[in-house]
């Protein structure tokens, strides 16, 4: 029964998967470049400008450098797990993109192609599940390094991610009460017709934003790799491309969480103050992708701006913020949202 697979559909999805994965890798690659340029601008420097015009080939040069570095494997507890760590970090970073709606349908020679790999009805929970698995890459790598500092970094990462996941989940519950659906596509369609969710859930968005900084291990939450306390944190023992994988997965995570925030709170591929349905479907879809990418770039810039502005938290401040400020705020937000919905439904 299931063997009768629609091969055209299979091919379509396969192409979409390849395009999405390579696009997110490419974007992450140039995010590393953008980070150095933004840092340079914020610190009144020029930034990388030697490789290629405007230094545009810099990411390639960085990648080459990592590939040619000597690979040092320490006297470890497990070689398999030592390799598993960065691989898992990369895998979980790439997996999230499966449920994101990148745009509306495209008319491809008479065939309507959905610009989303899988429109599952538990979309947002899938994202949450993959995010919660992301910590394994760091923890396994840290433990397999057989190094105190790595282990401390890994444990910090794990406790940080678990703590902030709670507030993130509760802020999402308030959002889900408003939208009444778990499908990301459905949420975008709702926002196209009504208001963006950030208008309805400003506090929820703020909590979600702070938590996604923490989940991506970005400054001010980059305690797992705090170099003045832990040398290099969980990737102290890593060199060559394995280190590259860890660093790179952070940039992919940053890109993906920007996409998620744009989709959940800022209308996804919706063009503000404009009715897309008057355009031809293909043009509308392409403009939608452009709109989504503009929002994503704005978020990525915010990530960098914060990184080069705010210093790192102390560990007790991190835990205090997570457990005593964000979680009560998220709980209050959830109760208030529920109360308002109940009041207006009467």
């Amino acid at each position: 029964m299931l063997l009768a697979i629609d091969f055209a559909l299979l091919l379509e999805k396969l192409i979409l998967v390849v395009v999405v994965v390579f696009a997110s890798l490419g974007i992450a690659m140039y995010t590393t470049f953008a980070e150095r340029k933004v840092a340079a601008i914020l610190q009144d420097r020029r930034g990388p400008n030697r490789a290629g015009p405007f230094g545009l080939l810099q990411p390639l040069a960085d990648g080459m450098k990592l590939f040619f570095k000597e690979e040092i494997i320490p006297d470890f507890s497990s070689k398999f797990l030592f390799v598993m760590g960065p691989a898992l970090a990369m895998l979980t970073a790439c997996m999230t993109s499966a449920v994101i709606p990148w745009g509306d349908k495209i008319d491809f020679f008479g065939r309507m192609v959905d610009l989303q790999i899988a429109d599952v009805n538990i979309g947002i929970l899938y994202v949450f599940g993959v995010v919660s698995l992301g910590v394994y890459g760091i923890m396994i790598g840290a433990w397999a390094s057989n190094n105190k500092f790595s282990l401390m970094g890994g444990l910090r990462a794990a406790s940080q991610i678990i703590s902030y996941e709670l507030a993130m989940g509760i802020s999402l519950i308030a959002l889900l009460m408003i939208t009444g659906t778990l499908s990301l596509k459905e949420m975008v369609v709702q926002q196209q017709q009504g208001y963006w969710n950030v208008v309805l859930q400003p506090l929820g968005f703020l909590i979600f934003l702070i938590c996604s900084f923490a989940e991506c291990n970005r400054t001010p939450f980059d305690l797992p790799e705090a170099e003045n306390e832990l040398i290099g944190g969980y990737h102290t023992e890593y060199s060559s491309m394995k280190l590259g994988f860890y660093l790179f997965s952070e940039y992919i995570n940053m890109f993906i969480s920007s996409v998620i925030m744009a989709t959940l709170f800022f209308g996804g591929y919706d063009i503000p103050f404009f009715d897309e349905s008057v355009l031809a479907p293909n043009l509308a879809a392409i403009l939608g992708i452009v709109a989504l990418m503009t929002k994503v770039i704005a978020f990525i810039f915010l990530f960098m701006w914060v990184r080069w502005t705010i210093p790192r938290f102390r560990y007790d401040q991190l835990m205090h913020l997570g457990w005593r400020i964000l979680i009560p705020m998220a709980l209050f937000n959830m109760l208030a949202t529920g109360g308002v919905i109940l009041y207006f439904n009467k």
Binding site: I122, F128, E165
Partner: protein, 171 residues
């Protein structure tokens, strides 16, 4: 063999195989990692039964949160094969006997079940989030609320145990 049967067999082999690996591996960290693989296989079974919500919640709660805590504890206590205490023969024998007896009971109970009635592959909607929510908050609201109070009391208990020394010091 249909494709569902093939997937079912693969998942079952994965589940049972990694469960065996979990029990037999000497290193506690490896045991925890194998247990995570077991949870993934079970989530795969849930998806075969069209219970996507259950599958993803299983991954979020068990693989994503509880197993991280397990790993946390194992890593912090720095358990490894050398320091693992070896149980004596008598305890091992008792363990094997009781485990075998439990398996006998489960096998005999399962063999009585009419499989056709029990398993509805990729059909039925009892695992979908809407049906599940309706069931929990309409038909089973009292047990659901009582169990959540139970969780709350367990949480408070954990905090009290964790803070015990601090409170005694203050006195």
């Amino acid at each position: 063999m249909s494709i569902i049967q093939i997937i079912f067999l693969l998942l079952s082999v994965m589940a049972v195989g990694s469960a065996l690996m979990m029990i037999t591996s000497k290193n506690p960290v490896n045991s925890v990692l194998w247990l995570i693989v077991v949870f993934f296989a079970i989530s795969g079974h849930y998806i075969l039964l069209n219970a996507q919500f259950l599958a993803i919640v299983n991954i979020i709660v068990y693989a994503g949160a509880i197993m991280v805590l397990f790993l946390f504890v194992v890593m912090l206590m720095n358990l490894n094969a050398e320091t693992e205490p070896v149980k004596n023969r008598r305890l091992q024998l008792i363990g094997i006997t009781s485990g075998g007896a439990l398996m006998l009971i489960i096998v005999s109970a399962i063999s009585k079940i009419d499989v056709e009635q029990l398993v509805q592959i990729n059909a039925g909607d009892s695992g979908l989030i809407k049906v599940l929510g309706m069931n929990l908050f309409k038909n089973y609201v009292l047990p659901f609320e009582i169990s959540s109070v139970l969780f709350l009391s367990a949480m408070i208990g954990a905090v009290v145990i964790g803070k015990k020394e601090e409170i005694e010091n203050k006195k």
